[in-house]
Amino acid sequence: MCACGTFILTAPGGSAARLGGRVDRVRSVGSASVWAEKFLVMSGHTVPADISGHMLDLDEDEDLEVFSKNTSLTDEGPVPNSPSSMVNQYRLEDDEEQQDANAKDLFISVEDPESHITAIETYIMYRVATKTTRSDFDSSEFEVRRRYQDFLWLRSKLEESHPTLIVHPLPEKFVMKGMVERFNDDFIETRRKALQRFLSRISEHPVLSHSQHFKVFLTAQDLAPHKKQGSGFLSRMGETMRAVANSVRGVKNRPEEFDVLQEYVENFSNKISSVDKVTQRIIKEQREYLDELRQYSSTYSQWAESEENLSEPLKGVASCAERCCNETEEQIQHLSEVLVPALHEYVLCTETLKAVMRRRDNIQAEFEVKSDTLASRKSDLDALQDEVDELAERMEKSNSALQLDWSRWRNTMRADLKAAFVSSAEKNVEYYEKCLAVWESFLVSQRGESISQRD
């Protein structure tokens, strides 16, 4: 949870020196900064020539090339001094598992759920608090109130604007089976944490964190007027319809790397879902075990009451059993709070990934359709050619965007799940260590006592 940390921006002069360091882990991030810049440039402006090659190039020297290539490619100025690229450079030094305060320039927390009751509905409002040093924000601190619907709006806007980027999922809309009340405390807390994670991920994304919609979401006191703004809505609607129509045709020549990706997504989807199910099952079994274990303690206590010499050791065993029960309870809680949410988010991710793949396919399909049309038409060649060129370019951009984001997503996934599994394993070790200590102290007390009895 990244709530309130002080952000210290180190002087830019130090950045170049640090760049030469660790490369392997941050390939995608480094290159993403290049690409982020390009994206900002490209939206609505002419495209600099010959950039696609750089974006797909993922070799070791790339980070050094970042600096030199940047100066020639952008119109905006020599060295990318925007916070986003500096942030990314500083990420080079970061321990992958540690969210170093120095690297983030945007801290968001989701807190304080409050119930709102109207005639029509009941809903929860969350306080979304932002602290930032970004220059493109009017202030350094913001506080707004948002409801789940608002998060949904943000996410759909992000997906619309960046159809082939992988946008982190939101917690589910509806109550999961097995839960009785929509507004019980556990559910609200779980949702709050997931919402915070969502915003945190967006803020870390090199492209998405600069989205206008994101900024509006974080800063506007009233979101309603922004929500109504859907100038491109109808045209986007038409676009979607066309895309659907095209996708019925299917994609003719999907590049091999995307076939590989597709296959991975399907397999990953199965596996992560299985892991999630196994984990849920473990928790269920642990809970049932705990219920039975509690009875141990009371039974030994009861026995102790009938005995004289045996009373003390029996009480000792009862106490040990009780303490082990407490440890078991803690262990279950840890599992529910750390591993389950992590796995669950990636289960939801698979849906996102599938959607992204579909959208990418649609973009390619649209291009192919127009391309074919061009090939068969005799007249209006110029106009058609322009359209085809535009679609080709769009397709290239989307593909590259996806490739980069895919790489980034893989790393994030690996880091997230690794952390969750390591934490769970650690907790299990701790659990057994504590129980061991409990029983060993009992043993010591018994051995000590019987020696003194003998004497």
């Binding site: 299985s274 075990y289 009875q295 009938s306």
Partner: protein
């Protein structure tokens, strides 16, 4: 603790070592018995070495399958000269013969708490454990239980001297006839079987009442404990085994990953290890359950002694009552007053008294009866006193044994838990390292 004093066992009794296994713990108990015990175990080592399946015709001439157990008797080392140890004497016995032996002991030594036999049918099982009498695990645990029974009897200060017991260990043929020849079955009092409160004792011995109550409480609480243990075992089994699914899924998942693959795969192996480890853990715990069960069955033996005492007390009271009644009758006859209603008395009053001769003969008959009654009461009194003395001696011995054994059992349970925790720490530390490599 007694263990450190015991000398002759082959398995060293260990103290202060948390790695003591439950086998060692059991040996500690056996060593205790040897020390306490008596001539028999000092001369010979008794074990129930094997179990075998046999088929044969039973009493109603039908084919049946049953298990026989091999009893081995070795002369104790001190008895043999140096050189090659003598081959053991062996014979086979089936469970029903053990039962017969025990019944004989129950009847012959009513004031002794007779050690129990292992259960006839598997009870308090958790679901993975078989309740089938022919299941090899059940047979094995029963073998151990039968050996325990023999050792308990052989180390008992009174029971170990019994001839029939000695023959049980040494003469395979003809033993059955010998037991029946003792005529012990005639002594079996059917009243003992009924649990009804028909025998109301006027002045019960408070010590026995307290003992019976304790025995009932112990029975209830240990039954409860065994039930809970079975359920806990079931659940724990479930938890461990579900982790095995991690092993399978991680393995499959690792196939589609590059950097994460190795870490996942090896973590999966540790999950398999974890899942498999529960089998041994619960098997060891079964041993602890058996120790509890022995004392559960012991409560029946304790209750039985209390009942026998009750019966004896009842008979004494009946005999005293009877004597008092007769004395009353005599007094009336002598003084001519009728305090106790009797038909004869009434009729003589109504229809004329009897002759002097008749009266005298009745009086002498009564006096005879009173004599007999006084003797009977004295006899019963002595019987009762002897019973109480012998019983309490055994009860004190039993209490000490019980406290020691159960304390040992609790310690061995703690040791098992420690072992389980250590295994858990090992597995999860390994898994954590693998996850770190993801």
């Amino acid at each position: 603790m007694i263990m450190a004093d015991s000398g002759s066992s082959e398995e060293a009794a260990v103290i202060g070592n948390t790695d003591i296994t439950s086998t060692e713990s059991e040996n500690n108990i056996i060593n205790t018995m040897v020390e306490r015990g008596t001539s028999l175990l000092k001369k010979m080592e008794i074990s129930v070495a094997e179990a075998e399946k046999r088929t044969g015709k039973n009493t109603v001439n039908m084919q049946e399958t049953y298990t026989v157990y091999l009893i081995e008797i070795r002369q104790a080392e001190s008895a043999t000269e140096g050189g090659t140890p003598a081959a053991p004497d062996t014979l086979w016995r089936r469970y029903s013969e053990f039962e017969l032996l025990r019944t004989y002991l129950l009847v012959t030594y009513p004031y002794i708490i007779i050690p129990p036999l292992p259960e006839k049918r598997a009870e308090f099982v958790w679901h993975k454990l078989s309740a089938d009498n022919l299941d090899p695990d059940f047979v094995e645990r029963r073998r151990v239980g039968l050996e325990n029974f023999l050792l308990r009897v052989a180390s008992h200060p009174v029971l170990s001297n019994d001839n029939i017991f000695f023959h049980f260990l040494t003469e395979e043929k003809g033993w059955r006839e010998a037991v029946l020849d003792t005529g012990f079955q005639d002594k079996v009092d059917s009243r003992l079987k009924s649990l009804s409160a028909m025998l109301r004792v006027k002045s019960p011995d408070r010590r026995f009442t307290a003992l019976k109550q304790y025995s009932d409480e112990l029975n209830a609480v240990v039954s409860q404990l065994l039930r809970v243990r079975a359920r806990v075992a079931d659940r724990l089994y479930g938890v461990y085994k579900v982790h095995g699914n991690y092993g399978r899924v991680f393995s499959e998942w690792s196939a589609i990953e590059k950097e994460m693959g190795d870490g996942l795969q090896s973590a999966g192996h540790h999950m398999d290890t974890y899942a498999a480890s529960i089998d041994d853990i619960l098997e060891e715990e079964e041993h602890y359950a058996d120790q509890l069960k022995e004392y559960l069955f012991y409560t029946d033996a304790v209750r039985s002694v209390c009942r026998k005492h009750e019966l004896m007390q009842y008979e004494l009271e009946m005999a005293s009552q009877d004597l008092a009644y007769k004395k009353q009758q005599k007094e009336e006859l002598v003084t001519g007053t009728v305090r106790i209603f009797s038909l004869k008395g009434m009729t003589s009053k109504l229809f004329g008294s009897e002759s002097q001769e008749q009266r005298e003969s009745r009086l002498s008959a009564l006096e005879q009866s009173i004599e007999e009654g006084i003797e009977a009461v004295m006899e019963k009194n002595t019987e009762c006193r002897d019973f109480v003395r012998a019983a309490w001696e055994d009860i004190e011995r039993f209490k000490e044994q019980k406290d020691k054994d159960l304390r040992e059992a609790l310690i061995s349970y703690a040791i098992m838990q420690i072992s389980m925790c250590k295994k858990g720490i090992q597995v999860w530390s390994n898994a954590k390292e693998c996850f770190n490599k993801m």
